[in-house]
Each structure stands twice: as C-alpha cells, then as structure tokens.
C-alpha cells in the first residue's frame, strides 16, 4: 500500500465526510472530558489545600504508629532526681518488672540506685551502660565509646556517630527504630523494641503470663489450683477474657453488638419492606394515591440517610445496638422496599392469572403466584444489604450508636495503644469478610435452590 495522495484524500473527505467527522468527534470528546477532569482535579488540589497539608503532615508519626501497632517497647528508665530505676513494658506502671526478675538483656550490678551499674544489651553487638548519671554507648563501627553525662547540664565525650543527635537539653540516640535512647537532665531513658503484641493473652501481672500453649494445656488438666476459688481451666478463660490491656471480653461484646445491629436491622427492613412493596407495586395495588404515598415514604426514609436517623434515634433510645438496629432498619426499609416493588412490577403475570383462574383468593395468589417469582431477588438483595450493613453498623457505631465502631474511636482518641487499634481493625475486617463469604454462600445456596 502506498501513501494517499492529496487528491485521493480530498475525494475520500468529500465522499465519506460524515464517517470521518463522526470519528473525529468520537476522538475529541474523550480528550475533552479528560481535560475537564484534569482541570477539576487541579482546582480541587488547591481548594483542599493539598500543598499546606503536605507541609504540615507528620509522616514520622505514621512510621512510629505503624511500628507501635506491630511491636512493643520496653523502657529502661533511670531517674536521677528521684533516685529510681525501672524496667517496664511501654513504660506503664502496671507492667513494671520486679528487680528480681528483670529481662535477661538488662544486667544490674551493685545497688540499683544512683550508684549502681546497669548493663543493657541492645542487640546487634551494641551495649548501653548506665553508671551513675552517665550513659555509655559502645558497639561496632564506633572508634571510641560515646559517653553522655546527665547532670544539670548535659556533657558528652567520645566518638559521635551520625545516629546520635546532640542538643544542649537533650541527647537522642537513634541507633535504629528498634534501639533508641534519650538523655535529658537528670533522666536516662532507653527503649528497646520487640516484634509482636505484648501480653496479648494474659496481663503482665497475671500468674499465667508468659506460659506456652503446652504449659497452659497441662495446667488446665492439673489438679493443683493456682486460684483456690476456681478450676485452672476457668481461670485461664477468665484471665484471658478479662485481660485489662486488650479487653478481649469487651471487644467481643462490641463485635457482637455490631453484628446484631446489622442482622436485626436488615431483618426488620426486609420484613417491613416486603408488604409495603406489595402496596407500592402497580400490578398489585391499583389504587394510585396509596401507592404514591408509600413510594414517597420509601424515598424519604432512604433520602434522609442512615447518619441522620441514627442521630435522632440516639436521642430517643440512648447509646446501644437498639439505636443502630432502628437506624439501619428504617433506611433500608426504603431501599429494599423500592427494590422489591420494582421486582414485583416486573413479574410474569401468567402465574397470577393461573392462580386466579383456579379461584384462589388474594393471599393465595400472592403467596403462590408472586412470591416464588421475587424470592431470588428478595433473598439476594437482603443478603447483599446484610453484608453492606455490617460495614455501616461500624460507621454509625462510631458516631455514637456503640459497638465495635465506638470501641475503635476510643482507642484512636487515646492515640497511644495502636496495637489495640490494629487488633480491632483486624477483627472488624475479619467479621466483614466472614459476613461477605457467608452471605455469598447463602445467596448461591438459596437462590440456586429457588431456581431448580
């Protein structure tokens, strides 16, 4: 094939002009749309103040938060003013190690007060030594030990690697995210991080803390009671359920509340929505005024939105799952009612006529003529909404209705126990995904059986 000459192009243009022009128009409008979208996004970029946001954002916070949600730190603290030495998980008073049972990477020689010497093995060949008011750092890659004295003013000597930040008021040792120390006047604080969730199964103070699964199993079957009040098996369950840091019992209860909200809300919505849908369908209810009223009712409860309904219900019923149930039920009565009434209007009328010809009454006509036809839609839509309501229940829960959403907001507000937040997020996701799988399975099972 050779290139088209100008004459030939002109001839094509004049003969098939319409086709070519349509083609060009088809080509132009996606480009135009793209330009529009880009312009809009550029407007939004500045309207939302993205540049300032980037400048103000605290990504370091994100890193720490991410680290904190999958790891925990043990504080080794020497307070010179109060003459106190403490090793504690996350620096919490309730999780302080006894002097007799310090972790094996902390070694104390002599009195543990201001005079004693503390050897801390930081891992990776680095060791931090606290002697009196001095912290000495030694390790690979350092030509000489680094020593900082936490007197009224800070003073230091020795080799200063790049990971040590010196300020007149504060010395930061940031060996890695997992090995850090902070020295201020009168206070030496060493952090060492470990992977995992601390005291997930039992509280730090619990007699069961640190036991392995095998030991627990043996304990559950042994006759020697740790607590004379109850059997060992009951104690294990009790200690786990009542774990103060993780609140397994409360979290489980909150999850149950959320599932109840979604389940009951959807059940009520489907149960109320179905009869109303019959009344809103033109082929069942010939009376236009009542049809109009019901349809506008559907639009209204749907349009007002679950958020607003939940706020009104919180005022009336107080905090708790009941509030969530009614908010979900009311909103979805509208949604499901509308969907059902559309399904009813689209049925094949022959079956209803067949029933009528046998002299069946109105109820029998609906039961055997209409219901079997809309059953697949009824079941699949109800299950679909059950699944999506599990998510919604989390959200309205967070706004005050209770359940796992509220629990999540509580842990986020304290902004400290990120591992708890992650725990709740993981549990919520598991419940949502489980609902998704169950409803999908039921949908296939039930609607598949309905079609046979």
């Amino acid at each position: 094939m050779s290139a088209i000459t100008a004459d030939e192009a002109g001839r094509l243009e004049s003969t098939y002009g319409d086709v070519l022009r349509t083609h060009r128009r088809q080509f132009l409008w996606p480009v135009g749309l793209l330009v529009l979208v880009v312009v809009y996004l550029a407007y939004a970029f500045f309207a939302f103040g993205v540049p300032e946001l980037i400048a103000k954002s605290r990504l370091d916070r994100g890193v720490l938060l991410g680290l904190d949600s999958v790891a925990y730190k043990v504080h080794v603290e020497k307070n010179l003013r109060r003459d106190r030495f403490e090793v504690a998980v996350e620096g919490e008073r309730t999780a302080t190690y006894d002097e007799a049972s310090l972790p094996d990477w902390v070694g104390v020689t002599g009195a543990s007060g201001n005079e004693g010497r503390v050897d801390i093995d930081m891992g990776g060949g680095y060791s931090f030594v606290i002697e009196g008011e001095r912290l000495t750092v030694t390790g690979p890659g350092m030509s000489a030990p680094f020593t900082v004295t936490a007197g009224d003013t800070l003073s230091w000597e020795g080799d200063v690697p790049s990971w040590i930040e010196l300020n007149p008021k504060k010395v930061d040792v940031k060996l890695s995210l997992f090995q850090r120390a902070q020295v201020t006047s009168g206070r030496i604080l060493v952090f060492r991080y470990f992977w995992g969730w601390e005291d997930f199964w039992f509280d730090f103070r619990s007699p069961l803390n640190g036991l392995s699964a095998g030991e627990l199993w043996a304990l559950a079957w042994s006759d020697e009671r740790i607590d004379p009040e109850m059997s060992n098996a009951a104690l294990i369950v009790d200690e786990f359920w009542g774990n103060e840091g993780w609140q397994h019992g409360d979290v489980f209860k909150a999850l149950l509340e959320t599932v109840i909200m979604a389940f009951l809300g959807t059940v009520v919505a489907a149960a109320v929505g179905l009869p109303l849908a019959f009344m809103a369908a033109a082929n069942v209810n010939p009376e236009p005024v009542s049809r109009f009223v019901i349809r506008r009712f559907f639009d209204f409860v749907r349009g007002v939105d679950m958020l607003i309904w939940s706020l009104i219900f919180i005022r009336a019923f107080g905090l708790g799952p009941l509030t969530g149930v009614f908010a979900i039920a009311l909103t979805d009565t509208g949604t499901l009612g509308k969907l059902f009434s559309e399904a009813i209007e689209n049925i094949d009328n022959k079956q209803v006529e067949g029933m009528q010809s046998t002299g069946a009454g109105a109820l029998a006509r609906y039961r055997f003529g209409v219901i079997p036809q809309i059953l697949p839609v009824f079941i699949s839509q109800s299950l679909y909404y059950l699944e999506s309501n599990t998510r919604s229940a989390t959200v309205i829960g967070a706004l005050g209705a209770g359940g796992i959403g509220l629990k999540l907001v509580e842990t986020l507000r304290t902004g400290k126990d990120w591992e708890n937040t992650l725990y709740i997020i993981v549990l919520t996701l598991m419940v949502v995904i489980a609902m998704d799988i169950t409803s999908g399975w039921l949908r296939r099972k039930l609607t598949g059986a309905g079609r046979d």
């Binding site: 990504l59 916070r61 009336a316 905090l319 149930v325 989390t394 986020l412 996701l429 949502v432």
Partner: protein, 285 residues
Amino acid sequence: MAMTTVDQLQAHASSLERRRRLYTGLGAAIFAILVVLGFIGAEEMNSGGFVQGLEKFFDYPGNIVSETAEAGTGWFERLWIYLPALIETINMAAVATIFGTVFAVFLSFAATRDLQVWPPIIPVARRIMDITRAFPELILALFLIFMLGSSPVPAIIAVAFHTAGALGKLFSEVNENIDRGPLEGMTAAGASWTQRMRWAVLPQVLPNYTSYMLLRFEINIRASAILGFVGAGGIGSELRKAISWANGADIAALFVLLFLTIMVIDQISGHVRRRLVGGMFVGAR
C-alpha cells in the same frame, strides 16, 4: 434394579417432601430464635429502653421543627451560609469517585480472565479488591487524620480506597459479561492489547461503568458527609457543631441541604443511568 411401583415412588416423594418441610421449618425456627435473642440482647445492651424511647422519639425532631419555626425567615439565610460546606462535601465525593474509578478500572481489567492479561496477576488483583472493599472508610479516615491532620484529604483518600474495591468488583463483573466477538475480531486483525481494550472492550463496558460510577458518587456523598463528623470537614463537621450546640434551626438547615442534595443527585444519576444502560440495549438490538 428393584421393581419400583407407583406407590413406592409416591412414598418416596412424600418422604422427601416431609424432609423438605422439616428443614424449612427448622431453618425458620432457628431464624426466629436468633431474631428474638438478638432483640432481647440489644434491649439489654442499650442504655435506654425501647418503650421509654418510643415516647421520646418525636421530642428531638419536634424540638428541631419548633426552633426552626422560631427562626422564621432567617432560617433561609442559614441554607446560604452552609452552602460552601455542602460544596466542599460534594467536591470531596467527586474527587474520591474520580480516583476510585480510575483505580477500579485498572483493578477490574487485571482481575478478569477473559481480557488476556498476565494470568498470575488475576488472583492478586482480586484479593486487593476484596481487602479494599472490606475496609470501612471510617477506619482509614481516622488513621489518616491522625497522620495528616484534620482536612478533607484523609477522607478523600479513605473514600477513594473503598471505592476502588467496591467499583472494581462491579466492573470486573461487567467485563466478564462482554460479547467476545469484537475482541476476537480485533485479535484476528493483529491489534495490540491496548488497541483491543480500547476498541473492543471499552465501548461495550463504558455505559455500565458510568452507571455504576454515578451510583457510587451518590453513595460517596453520604460517606463524605459522615466522615466530616470525625474531622474531615465539609457539611459533616458543621452538622457535628450544630448538634453539639443543640442548635435546632441550624440542624434543620443542614438536614434539609443534605436531603435535597442526595435527592437531586439521585434523580439526575437515575435519569442518566436509565439513558446510558437503556441506550446501550437499544443500540445493540
């Protein structure tokens, strides 16, 4: 094979029927017990009771209405005052929908077997969609607000994230149902993958994509309004302020604005969707 008489067949059929009824009955009974237990549990866990609550149910809406009536014509000014907040919320939803849709298109193409993509990527894309879909927007938004500070951007990211998964799944279902004829024709003519997708797949799926996207836009407006409650700005923040100050007239103004917006968007998108999807079928026949 044993002889089967009509009686035996009938007996078998009626025993099957009895068993079916038993299962249906059992299922219904378990379901009823679950519902009753659920209500008892919910009533117990709730801080206020159902019966007392029912009496108070109309108090709050009543207060709002009476305070609105007191405000008189000044109330309409409030609608105007809150308009910028509403526009911010709509913008949040729009930007989130745009980004979410773009990601959803990529994910859905990567998750569909028929579209001749690199096979190992299919399960990966599907799992990504499952996870992004299951993630409640609120959780991500709260996390991002902590990192980025209170602003609409965390909410946009959160909503877009969820939208990518939710739309991606719907889009991939659309992709699976396309007519393979044009695709095969393009392949026979030696078209590249991009050309095949552009000229054989996109024209078939675009009307449905647009229809789902509009539906999602509507949902995202609600989501953005809700996220405003936790510090993402827009009409949700205003509503939160009005509710904590118990300012009935303001609450009414915000409710009305939100309600009208959702109604209008619902109507417009319903109209456009009917035209798009209906139009496609008219064109095809």
